[in-house]
Symmetry: C2
Subunit: 151 residues, 2 copies
Amino acid sequence: MLAMTKKTGYGLIAMTHLAQLGPEGLASAREIAEEYTIPLALLMNILKELAAGGYVQSVRGARGGYRIARPAASVNFVELMEILEGPMKLAECIRGEVDDDAHSKCKLMPKCPIADPVHRVHRKIRDFLSDLTLADVLQPKTREPAVAGEG
Amino acid sequence: MLAMTKKTGYGLIAMTHLAQLGPEGLASAREIAEEYTIPLALLMNILKELAAGGYVQSVRGARGGYRIARPAASVNFVELMEILEGPMKLAECIRGEVDDDAHSKCKLMPKCPIADPVHRVHRKIRDFLSDLTLADVLQPKTREPAVAGEG
DNA sequence: TTGAAATAGTACGGTAGGGGTTCTATATAG
DNA sequence: CTATATAGAACCCCTACCGTACTATTTCAA
């Protein structure tokens, strides 16, 4: 419960790897898969999705691979997660951007006593994850007011 | 992804309902299930687990039911979740209390570049959820330093 | 004393999504 | 022209989630 999928994990790893290589650095799916012991075919699928989402740029053909397409500081966790897994929803009743009638999907909405708290928790987690960027992974922030309160 | 299970949702609803009835108030699984349109058999299973965990006290026989067994302010979300779903783990490499070799389960731990950030996120979410209690659900907190930073 | 209503315990089953593989097509360096 | 890469799509297995069902036991009440 409240678990991150492996897909997201692998995607994060690939992105951090590419970010470390800088804006010109190129790495193939094979290289990354071997470096971190990730199933190659799966990582290829993930990189395809990241390319489709504009997070990495692909270079086809021999000696090809992927390079990062956006500054590390501009890529946050929520974006990445949602590209790979669809909208983040703590519960069914969380309404998305477009899908506005998410409430109607949950039969017990009209009387639900926990709708408000659940929505608050959802926003809290989402806000936190959207403040966290790839840059923070590369260089762990020691102290930062925006996401402070750490133990 | 990052979703709360329905089991936890139903459990929270049942707990808030019982909390509202006060320390003496009794409600049967049937009553709660009908009130919130929750599948009866499922809710019964959940209440059994909550009883086994000491969160509610059961009264057997006709006119029986459940009453809350702990002050609402002392029951936090993490506890409740973990009773119903097992240990909360954002990723496999999160080590539990007993299960100390969780690291070894993830083959890419030695080189994993995202282990630290993932652990930080895990702790952050966990800390937040453990500060949130049933009492907060009953009476939504308007402002509270310990969990401040809300939008 | 008997039946209805409740919990206790346990086992079972359907389904969706996570995790991973495979196949074909296309591009490109050497 | 071949090896190496990505592009696209389909496929499969397995687990966990969600829900059901059955039996046993307790207790109230007529």
